[in-house]
Subunit: 474 residues, 2 copies
């Protein structure tokens, strides 16, 4: 376990290949104004939500169709030059940074909902459609798509990183909710994976292989998704607990009893304190669960009552529940404001987010030890958790001008990840590996499994042009 | 679309390599009495539930540990000789037949439940544990594992074929319920895929790649599974409909309304008639839905009432529901007896099972056209459907001594599969490709996708020793 000890260690390995002139000529010839080398455009495509700073890609192609993507990839393939898919740029792990140089293929103009099959609860969209756009476009059908990462990400990007969010405890992640894909391969071929059948045993699961492959095996151009009926009734509840252990024990019992809870979020006492300071609220400064229940009115009421009983048995206090949209929003204010309240608590700070996920029985131990450590470090933090899934995010609030704080934050994360791995968890529940967690992936999966991944990469992308430098070293 | 026209076309491509003497010596030296070449043992390991007849494997190794499997594979790899994983032999698609020769690696002695984590709703088992054994061993915990293919299959085999069954409409298939695996690779290395975390974005989804790979990428030796709380209440319901279309429309509305139905099976009027003849029952000889609801007592009651209302709107008749185990069993008798009733309806016959799955909005059309065709053919049939998923099985009841009937049955299946594919469905919902559906897979997935599968196979099994001849041609 070699913890990072200096800021240089935290820099990604950058060695950008210059773009061949002939490739630029070919791209400009094929794409005209859809191809840009303007510095402002490239810069916008060379920045994401990660902490890394890397020079921008050499060019940007604004694809307007799958054919555009295929042609762009084929041209890059002919010159063995990297291709980097770009959706909205909300990656947290440096996925779109041009560490080997490359052409950014921006799919944001591919933003059409192609086929809605309401009876089958499926929809096929172009990769640039965002999750909020999708829900807006389908709301008249009475259906919705539940996966909700913090950002209004593109559905192609969400598939590529195997994203999830607060609804995953009930509805699963992109792994469970992508039925099929259209993908442009490393040779520029357009391939469909999966059908609209709800289940299949037809050969290797290429869909699940592409979901979470972070652009390293191909560019996702279309996504076929499962949809769900908008629940007849939705209620929200909040409850405070004297300890994180009591809150987590409540969640374990709720899940063991089979309550189909739709959302189950935790914020710790420290984060509640930040919210109170920010929003002028008077919430109990204790660990807090924020929950949501979906179903028929009777079912939702029954779920809330069951959970309240369990919470009381675990010393839960101040249980509140609400069913109108306004009241639900009020109850969830603390969760919605946690991030901004935390940033405001230390003006000028930057949050470095962790993303570990552990089996829920190990969650309280993992959280308590990690909180002790961050308290001992002196770095302010906030903590929010998709606690029903065992996934949680510390936000270490560092001074971006203090290199030492960055090092301490990385050390805290390093210790946290290795704790999570020892507890049979994962280094990343929903953000992906990208540039930042390649060492953690090796610790988690082991050399044999990473060697299998690398073999697959070499087989499907023999010239390493698809988003090179991400997930693992070539 | 080249339909099969003669029995020879239906034979698998068999070219068995002789086992190298040195390999046999090495296996016998390493495994002693765990290695058998007795004809009776080999014959038992060379027969499954498919229609194919292939000479048996050259030897059988009874593995008692993952290390045994790894050593057997490593020895075979050294001699570039095929390895065929064997669980209980319940494959329907020839998965365990030694079409290239090979050593059958029998994991049935690897039958221990290794680690039960009730709080996390997870369990890790050796690959030879069967689904019924697992449920028996964990029943005191109040948890169960829902995936229920017809056979009491091994969990390793179920993972390898991406199996499902009647509970998939609510609980998903092996795709959704395997958290992680231990696998012996083609070089004889033991690799873990996945962790016990409920979700992860850590690199390529090797778990989902192995699930459904039919032994062609490695031998599954351990399986970590999700478990579920045994529902507080279970109720069953049956209802008859004047047409398949009315029954299917009922199911569509039930699912669109978000009723969390746990089982939803269809049998057609012809099959009900067979059941009445076999079981001396007086069920309405109409399309019939058989359903099950899981939840709290109030929720289950509400679900049944909601479904009854929808069924009535669709001209459903004779709606019955029951909550005691005895009454539930009585209601479901028709489904449980369908297979045997069908076989008895034509003494001496053999059933050839189809396995297509289509989007549910296409299901009625697909079924009605297919029923018309089978009626026109003169071949007796039964029909059972996991209708909530759009997956259904025709059983063509052929005279095994009449080669012409076999050809007709294959022609019916051929037409059915291509109809399902045109309706955006799959050739196999839960049985796998094996020997029988390789042409269908190509039609379904397309050459580009099958080429990707083949590239992965070549990368992970460069000498083609892992269950060769299955899924696609090398």
């Amino acid at each position: 376990m070699n913890a990072p000890t200096n800021p240089a260690h935290l820099l990604p390995d950058v060695s950008q290949m210059p773009m061949p002139d002939a490739l630029l000529v070919a791209l400009q010839s094929r794409f005209g104004a859809q191809c840009s080398t303007a510095l402002a455009v490239r810069t916008q495509h060379g920045v994401d939500e990660s902490v890394f700073s890397v020079p921008p890609p050499a060019a940007v192609v604004f694809a307007e169709s799958s054919k555009d993507v295929a042609d762009a990839v084929a041209l890059c393939a002919a010159h063995r030059y990297p291709v980097i898919p770009f959706g909205v740029g909300s990656s947290l792990e440096g996925h779109l940074l041009a560490v080997r140089g490359g052409v950014s293929v921006d799919v944001s103009r591919m933003n059409r909902v192609l086929t809605l099959n309401a009876e089958d609860l499926t929809v096929t969209v172009q990769a640039g459609v965002t999750r909020k756009q999708l829900n807006e476009e389908i709301k008249s059908t009475g259906l919705f798509f539940p996966i909700d990462p913090g950002a209004d990400a593109s559905l192609g990007g969400m598939a590529a990183t195997r994203a999830s969010g607060t609804n995953a405890v009930r509805y699963g992640t992109m792994r469970e909710n992508v039925l099929g894909l259209e993908v442009v391969t490393a040779s520029g071929e357009i391939v469909k994976t999966g059908t609209r059948a709800k289940k299949s045993s037809a050969g290797y699961d290429l869909t699940r292989l592409m979901v979470g492959s972070e652009g390293t095996l191909g560019v996702i151009t279309e996504v076929t998704l499962k949809l769900y009926p908008i629940p007849e009734a939705i209620s929200a509840a909040t409850c405070s607990f004297p300890s994180i252990a009591a809150a987590v024990e409540t969640v374990i019992q709720v899940i063991q009893l089979g309550v189909p809870i739709a959302r189950c979020e935790l914020i710790d006492h420290n984060t509640v304190r930040m919210v109170n300071a920010h929003s002028k609220t008077t919430l109990r400064e204790e660990a807090m669960l924020l929950m949501e229940f979906h179903g028929s009115p009777a079912s939702v009421k029954e779920q809330a009552e069951t959970v309240q009983g369990i919470a009381s048995d675990n010393a839960g206090q101040a249980f509140e529940w609400a069913s109108t949209p306004e009241e639900r929003t009020r109850l969830w204010t603390a969760r919605h404001n946690a991030y901004f309240a935390a940033l405001q608590s230390r003006p000028g700070c930057r949050a470095i987010s962790t993303d570990t996920c552990v089996p829920i029985s190990r969650l309280a131990d993992c959280l308590l030890e990690s909180i002790d450590e961050v308290n001992a470090s002196g770095i302010p933090y906030f903590l929010v958790g998709h606690v029903g899934d065992g996934n949680f995010h510390f936000g270490y609030l560092i001074d971006p001008n203090d290199a030492n704080e960055r090092v301490i934050a990385e050390q805290l994360n390093h210790t946290l990840v290795h704790r999570a791995l020892a507890l049979e968890g994962t280094c990343t529940g929903e953000h992906g590996v990208g540039l930042h967690k390649q060492g953690f992936l090796l610790s988690e999966a082991g050399e044999g499994a990473v060697a299998m991944m690398r073999s697959i990469k070499h087989a499907l992308d023999p010239h390493n042009i698809m988003n090179p430098g991400k997930i693992f070293a070539w």
